[in-house]
Amino acid sequence: MTIEKKNSYDFYLILATALVLAVISGICVYGMFYFKFAQLQQLDPVTKGAYMEWMNQLVSPFIIVLIVLLAICVPKRLLPTEWLNRFALALLIVVLVTTWFRGVVMALMVTLGITLSLQLLVLVMALAGSGRLNFERKGYWLRVGSSSLHLGLVLFILDLFLYKNHALHLALFWVTTVATVFGMTACFYSPAIAKWAGGFSQENSSENEDLS
């Protein structure tokens, strides 16, 4: 399949995501060196706890941006570009209003809730073989896999909010793992799965990821 679109919305979202991930990577490297030179491993748990809290604060704005990007990325499967801009604006208003009245954590939970609901809808539609979804690539298993993989990512971030509830945290973690592993398998090996599932002649050409 050849990708011919130039400067699409998807492309800029990917560049923005890459930028945020690069910043998070930079913070991680900073954390490593700080940990070493402050000799945190030799300090008391309270000081270690303060370091963790500080690192959480440092990274949280970028996690928020990542969540917002995710929340914009998910509906792009469902909506045309012009509606996507309106959705992004509406989401921003909801986030700001919720932050004003209920705080940042609740705003993020709302954003994640909306993202999760939409991603579930995308997955269901992909499973049903809906032609109305907007994906860069074609292929049933590739779309199902990509939807499941991104659902896993949303669930993982949601799960981090629940880490204090040990039982629920671990249960949701395993759901996350299953969704991610299934998603990666279906997305990365879609031609093989299509062949295995019996629809090889129909699926193989569309699952191909040729860049030529």
Partner: protein
Amino acid sequence: MNLIMQSITGPFSYIGQGIMIALLAFSLLGGIMGVMNVSRKDSVAFPVLQWTFVGINLIFMAGFVLICWLHYQIYQTLPLEFPEAIVPLVNQQLELINAQAQYAFPLLDPAHPPRYVIPLWVENEKYYFWFTCYSFMAFFAFLHTASHRLKGALVVLLTLQISILYWFANPFSQPLPKFFSEIGAWYAAGDDPRQMFGEFMRLYPRMIFYYNTHYMWLHPPMLFLSYSAITVTFITSVFMLVKRDVEIETLGYDSAKFGYFMLTLGMLLGYPWALQAWGPNWWWDPKICSSIMMWAIYSTYLHTRLYANKKLMWYFTSILGIVCFVAMIFTFISSFYFPGEHTFQ
């Protein structure tokens, strides 16, 4: 060292050294031909290069079988066995510990003394496993590319890895030195019950929560598989910078997909174990930081690859493939340089 240990490690070292010498000889031959293929316009002695590569893989497999034998012998012959009369006292102590802990120690059963089920990738064996994985993946890439230069480069990097293994991380010259030094004290304790008890309380937690834990059988090998795949992607990325060859890019991408799969799964499977072993105090541990960094770069690589047909994105993706490799080396070395829960220091 006790006689039982010597009866295991003696033949292991003797045969293993032979394997390492053969591996080095084959890899040097392959390396020379690899350099010739990389530097010349046409392929040089291709059948010899291919059969040398097959030979290296077979020798790697023989060494791995030998490592499996060593670990089986440890399981069979080195249990933590107590005189039956002392077992109730030990169990009483373990019950006291279990009452205060979230995760319990299994109590002792004199009929089935605790045995070591050591994973096949601890101490220097991890390098052996890692480079074996690379050897097989590189051979797969070798068979699936028409570029003799890429074939040569894959072998040259393998030669470099085997040289590192031979000179700096030979798992056969001194088998599992840390493990045998740990358990040596247990056997040195003789029949003195008080000394045995002290040694047991030192060894048992490490056996249960490190050597015998299922996590050690899943988390590290997946990461080493991932590291090997990243190395193949790195070589293809360097080639992508030189020439716009879709076949090589596809090979690198296939390798990257497998590597990302293993990295993500390996990291995820490490998570519940980390909660169990360290509680919540590990999240910003240096190794975790570097792993998240590597995963983020890798995720970026896979996303930008969607647009690799654009000229600038082609080069950007190639550079990211190289950065992934640098991040992987940095992440691995961080275990030596940075203190924390994952440190090898």
